[in-house]
Amino acid sequence: MNATPKPTNGSWSPSLVAFFCNWCTYTAADLAGVSRMKYAPNIRTIRLMCSGRVDPQFILDAFSKGADGVLIGGCHPNDCHYAEGNYKCLRRFRLIKRMVADLGIEEQRLRLEWISAAEGEKVKTVVNEMVDQLKALGPLGIPKQFAEWDAEMTRLEHAAQTSQSAESEVAHA
């Protein structure tokens, strides 16, 4: 079910997948709503209990399924509802950031923000900022890349097979 970036009124618009912790950032996003703040509609949020639950696999999976950016939101240092889930998240984030860079994914596409339950305004600015950056970067198109790599692999495999069979044919000859 690979999603190719969908056109919006003919033009491309980025997909931003967010993982927000239940206690701070998700609540902050609720607050932004209650306060009727306006921000870019590109964000799609998944609620987790804590930013510590964010498995690096989630991030890679989101990119591979067509996200142009991934945002993680957790409580400020010392404020995590579970004491230190956000620190664990930060440690993992640093690692995954390097990995993502190795994959050739620009660093602005992955972001971690501490947003407390009172910071509805920050949800707004962070999302807007990130969507602007993603717009400037253009589509990431990992699914398409994967498709190309897959094609490449099958072609190579095929080539290998045919050359093998050719070899064996030669051997038989």
């Binding site: 079910m1 997948v17 996003a29 404020d79």
Partner: protein, 667 residues
């Protein structure tokens, strides 16, 4: 109860709420329902005006029965508001409540976007994520945890006092922890209170005394909460009790020691009177203090500083043996089920608005100082004499000092207009002085308040609409300390320069400087200003984001005494609700180890903040103690072999959510 049978087909019912026009005006709900109806496993897909209403819930229940639904998804407001409502509704119709999933298209969609097409697409994506996730849901059971019946109340102002009495009178055991040596808070400093102009201590002191003698209240003054562990129903709290050097059980409050102190005259800054009076090293904070127990200030007591005092106080105390110079700080541990935080506020420091000359010109006072000056038990016995010994003939009262100002505090402190009117009246009553009140907007909301304003206006006080810009010494005056108050009278468009003898600064209310520390201690949130954050501004005004911890009084935001008391009652009722039910239900979002996949690498063990994970030595497998696990999911994200599962947030559930979010939508 519905137990899914293996291979039984998933049958989802999807419901999208209009929320009146709240959602429907920005999201094309019909389109979304139509689209979701085409998705796999979806049996019914409907839109409805108010899903949370009874007919809305009944619709779901009827569908469950008639269409044999076994999964329900509702797209409406935030799960924080109505997840429980819909879980209960599905449960009533016979399916496990955790076969329900909620989609937030109001707070996270309709209310924050402006493009209807984009908002509709977003709603479709969010709905699809839930539709893809919900087939994977497992039936779960809520855990029940007992609630300890004792209550901790932090802060002994009027709010804390009232909450303590409500609970104690109903037979609950209450620990009241107060930082100062006496309870009473700000109200104990006032002379009279608006809007009734009744004597503050006349209503407060019986309540204070009741707290002091109540068999169900353990009162710990001069104490602070040092540590809080645990969770709703079971909080373990450590309280630090500072030494008073006078033993509470033995002191009778006779104050013979104070009389006998080697300092014949009071000599040191009296904190209770904001430095307007003097006290001795040993003293009772004020006559009606509760507990009526003296205390010794180690900074000024000769014995405590150098060990070289004649200790005449000790002598005077005699057989009562209440004075103990060796008293040490004590730590007490208590177990409570619920906590009320009622730590109040502090007044704005007028030195931060230097143009009003507070701290520079002796005749400039803040309002709380004036409360003490006109208080019969204050440093001047209720006579309004200024630092220069004179009685003012003309007084300016400046409203909004430190409030409604981007340079200081942005909020309106709510009580200042009213207490300014009160002080104007009281000063006039005591001194016959002419009073000028300078205000920006006269804010008198609340029952009886406008009438109060009306009544005082009739008394003929002068009211000038304009924020005072400058206070400076009258250049034509040499000695009396007369001041010029300069402001634009905005209703006349004229600059006034009014000479006065005394200036009263109506300082605003602000959070305590250590509010951030207190917030962390109790795992609460703060607004950006530092007031403790309520769970919902309208529907959960005294709850916090931490279950079992409630707020009362000004620590949540500026308010008057009636509102502080009302909140205290509400917070007490919230505690009752938990105590009387006897248990709380916990989200079953705990984690467990799938033993056959665990490699015994132990990497999860140090990660758990609650030490819920241990190694089963015999099997060399990790094991999670469900009673200790709080469900953060940190271990799950880190297990290299993927062998830990978190209920409600299983990997497969999250992956299918991601997939659903990113799938193309038809519009």
């Amino acid at each position: 109860m519905y137990i899914p049978k293996k291979h039984e087909p998933v049958r989802i019912g999807f419901y999208i709420c209009h929320c009146g026009v709240n959602i429907a005006s920005m999201v094309d709900v019909k389109e979304v329902a139509k689209y979701v109806g085409t998705l796999p496993n979806v049996v019914v897909s409907r839109d409805y005006k108010y899903m949370c209403s009874d007919p809305g819930q009944e619709m779901i229940q009827q569908d469950i029965i008639e269409n044999r639904l076994n999964r329900v998804v509702v797209a409406a407001c935030s799960p924080m508001l109505h997840e429980q409502t819909f879980r209960k509704a599905t449960e009533k119709a016979g399916i496990n409540p955790f076969f329900f999933q909620m989609v937030n298209i109001r707070e996270h969609d309709a209310w924050v976007h402006t493009d209807r097409l984009e908002a509709t697409r977003k709603a479709m994506a969010l709905a699809r994520a839930a539709i893809q996730r919900v087939p994977l849901h497992k039936p779960l059971e809520v855990k029940k945890v007992a609630v300890h019946p004792n209550v901790l109340i932090v802060g002994g102002g009027i709010a804390g006092i009232h909450a303590a009495l409500v609970l104690a009178n109903a037979g609950k055991r209450v620990y009241l922890v107060e930082r100062d040596p006496t309870i009473g808070g700000h109200m104990a400093k006032f002379d009279k209170t608006f809007p009734t102009l009744d004597c503050a201590m006349c209503v407060l002191s019986p309540k204070m005394a009741a707290v002091g003698s109540h068999p169900n209240i353990t009162l710990w003054t001069y104490s602070e909460v040092a540590k809080v562990d645990g969770y709703v129903g079971n909080y373990k709290v450590v309280v630090r009790r500072k030494p008073r050097y006078v033993l509470e059980d033995l002191c009778t409050g006779c104050q013979e020691c104070v009389e006998a102190c080697v300092y014949k005259e009071p000599k040191f800054r009296d904190e209770f009177n904001l430095g307007l009076g003097k006290r001795k090293p040993i003293r009772l904070p004020f006559p009606q203090a509760i507990p009526p127990v003296t205390l010794i200030d180690p900074e000024t007591c000769i014995e405590l500083k150098s060990g070289k005092c004649k200790k005449t106080c000790l002598e005077a105390c005699g057989d009562r043996k209440a004075i103990d110079f060796k008293q040490q700080e004590e730590l007490r541990e208590i177990l409570v089920g619920t906590i009320i935080v009622a730590t109040g506020y502090q007044i704005f420091d007028a030195k931060r608005t230097p143009y009003y000359g507070y701290g520079v010109y002796p005749n400039v006072y803040n309002a709380l100082e004036v409360e003490r000056l006109i208080n019969a038990s204050g440093p001047t016995n209720g006579e309004l004499v200024m630092r220069n010994g004179q009685v003012p003939k003309k007084v300016a009262v400046i409203h909004c000092v430190g409030s409604r100002d981007e340079n200081t505090n942005r909020w309106c402190s709510r009580v200042c207009c009213l207490y300014s009117l009160k002080l104007a009246h009281l000063i006039h009553e005591r001194t016959n002085a002419e009073i000028v009140n300078f205000y920006i907007d006269m804010r008198t909301p609340g029952k009886g308040m406008e009438e109060f304003y009306n009544r005082l206006s009739e008394e003929g006080m002068m009211l000038v609409r304009g924020k005072v810009a400058d206070v400076y010494p009258d250049p034509t005056d040499g000695t009396t300390g007369r001041l010029i108050v300069q402001a634009e009278d905005t209703l006349m468009s004229r600059i006034l320069k009014i000479p006065v003898d005394m200036v009263v600064l109506s300082v605003g209310l602000e959070p305590h400087p250590d509010s951030d520390k207190i917030r962390r201690l109790f795992n609460m949130s703060c607004s950006s200003e530092g007031w403790f954050l309520e769970r919902h501004p309208k529907l959960a005004p005294v709850s916090t984001f931490t279950d079992g911890i409630f707020l009362a009084g000004c620590c949540q935001g500026p308010k008057d005494i009636p509102d502080s008391v009302a909140q205290a009652g509400a917070a007490a009722a919230e505690c009752f609700s938990l105590i009387d039910k006897g248990h709380i239900e916990q989200e079953p979002n705990t984690a467990f180890v799938v033993e056959k996949e665990c490699s015994g690498c132990k990497s999860c063990i140090p990660l758990c903040p609650y030490t819920a994970i241990s190694l089963l030595e015999d099997k060399k497998k990790a094991y999670i103690n469900e009673a200790l696990c709080k469900g953060c999911g940190t271990c799950v994200a880190s297990c290299p072999s993927g062998s830990i599962v978190q209920n409600l947030f299983e990997d497969a559930e999250v992956f299918s959510e991601i997939e659903g979010l990113l799938a193309p939508v038809p519009v």
